[in-house]
Symmetry: C2
Subunit: 386 residues, 2 copies
Amino acid sequence: MEVKARAPGKIILSGEHAVVHGSTAVAASINLYTYVTLSFATAENDDSLKLQLKDLALEFSWPIGRIREALSNLGAPSSSTRTSCSMESIKTISALVEEENMPEAKIALTSGVSAFLWLYTSIQGFKPATVVVTSDLPLGSGLGSSAAFCVALSAALLAFSDSVNVDTKHLGWSIFGESDLELLNKWALEGEKIIHGKPSGIDNTVSAYGNMIKFKSGNLTRIKSNMPLKMLVTNTRVGRNTKALVAGVSERTLRHPNAMSFVFNAIDSISNELANIIQSPAPDDVSITEKEEKLEELMEMNQGLLQCMGVSHASIETVLRTTLKYKLASKLTGAGGGGCVLTLLPTLLSGTVVDKAIAELESCGFQCLIAGIGGNGVEFCFGGSS
Amino acid sequence: MEVKARAPGKIILSGEHAVVHGSTAVAASINLYTYVTLSFATAENDDSLKLQLKDLALEFSWPIGRIREALSNLGAPSSSTRTSCSMESIKTISALVEEENMPEAKIALTSGVSAFLWLYTSIQGFKPATVVVTSDLPLGSGLGSSAAFCVALSAALLAFSDSVNVDTKHLGWSIFGESDLELLNKWALEGEKIIHGKPSGIDNTVSAYGNMIKFKSGNLTRIKSNMPLKMLVTNTRVGRNTKALVAGVSERTLRHPNAMSFVFNAIDSISNELANIIQSPAPDDVSITEKEEKLEELMEMNQGLLQCMGVSHASIETVLRTTLKYKLASKLTGAGGGGCVLTLLPTLLSGTVVDKAIAELESCGFQCLIAGIGGNGVEFCFGGSS
């Protein structure tokens, strides 16, 4: 018996950075997923918990006895009552991860593996099992890969628990009910906390619920897209220091409080306009094209304002210039300073143009992904089929 | 007896486009000049008015009798009372210019030559003379070449008139007194009207008075720089349609009134900050470096906001990227869509870096000029020496 769960990544359509200073931002799910397959051990002699990160060719295996010994004093698992991971638990779990001899180059994954151990034992206790993870999402590029991992993992763990109400006989992908999703999202947020310290909760919420959310001053509002929307997501593969970028914007704001406050207000207007366009009904192709043109203009404006904040990067500018040659509008998404760039792919755009643009971007060493925007959130499927 | 006058070009340090929507802008003179040399005919048989545009290898020559015949019914010249050129005069003058068989490729110069004929006859009447024009300024690239021409021409013409109070014995460059400068600037504006229709008056005012001016809602304030400032001016050689660019920003403002109004307010703040930095006293090198860093940040911010307005261009982005490689901050100046880009050259920057950046920009087909910012306005010099 196994369950497979998939949870989408996310993009920030507008308002990154400015959201830290009180502006509205809009995030959306993308149809690029992280997949988690959970199967409990059936063989009597198999008494370990295994985690396989397929894309990274990494495998971890802990004897269940070792896990129980280390963690049982932390309290019995309770999948229905979400608890936060204490500092003490984190230390104990990190020690378990370190016993596994993480390769030096993958040391950044330690916190992700810790989140796995904590979510697994908190929800399922000390059962031997194998968990296999694969993903469409590049790691650490601002597409919410860690949240998608936490959401998909929580989904698989909860689907096999008594805390949610799911139909184990249903074939194909299923979605959770509203209250189950709420519980799942809380667990995923606890995982995110282990990985990121103080996550905003945006990434896991988008991954869990799908579609889009507007967020401002810590308040999240789920919104429903009323138009198909496709983006080219170009991963510049340039790593960045999100904390330093956020701090840079704050320092600039201290130096130029008036100008920057107008910039944040401009972005707030742009996010609200964008959300309104996406939510308004689109009766025919013509008005979809009109809406797309408006979105493109708002993306261009938002990108200019991000440049004004100082968070662009030469690699981002290269993507902008390349896509502009094909008359396509782009903006960075997430922290900037590298990371990913969004390019709107209009409904009536010819595939030839897309292919040419992608070929040119790839020749610069970038990774290109095409993503539908605003689709379903987390889904699960029993029996291992999909 | 001859007089030579030189008048500087101008750059917009901040606030282009936004000024149309009520924001403050800052313009400054640059030490790149248009030179006009005026010498009255001494030979008895020389009875023509000659205009030599040296840089363009163009020469025009009108028999004085032909000019008198065409224009004498327009009233006697009066250098001290500035008059505007009537529609009727414009037609008559254009006809005189057309008699000269302007080469097709230079047809855009017709209005400039008309302005010459009108200023000349209005101030000096029907005296045979030769006027020679040379310039450091590329034409039509937003550096105020036409205003510098009108200012230098007015200066030469007025220096030989009874309307101003100048010392013809002084050796080397002289400046006009305040009231003479005011008269000169009014004449130059009349010339600008013939060339541009409805000029803002900024270009000729900067060229006449030099230094810097702040302007907002039609009000010009002269300000005095308190720091040396050097810019690399890169002419992309990409021609642009200023009217279309201005109209594009207005249309975007109609579509996104809230966001754009915040953008214009941000630029207003930036212009005022920039003016304050330039005006504040700089006691030593360290604080000059600090001021330069602030100016660089404000330039980067302004450039982002101009991109938000949609007036950048691939050629401008190429200049930005190239100068960024040398850690130099740049912004477009003027209408955008091509034209010129400013790059601040810090006081302590090594000449080697400047040379490398220039070599790279020139290899892209751009023209590079180094300009001191905020120097003297129009000057004149009797006897042809300089």
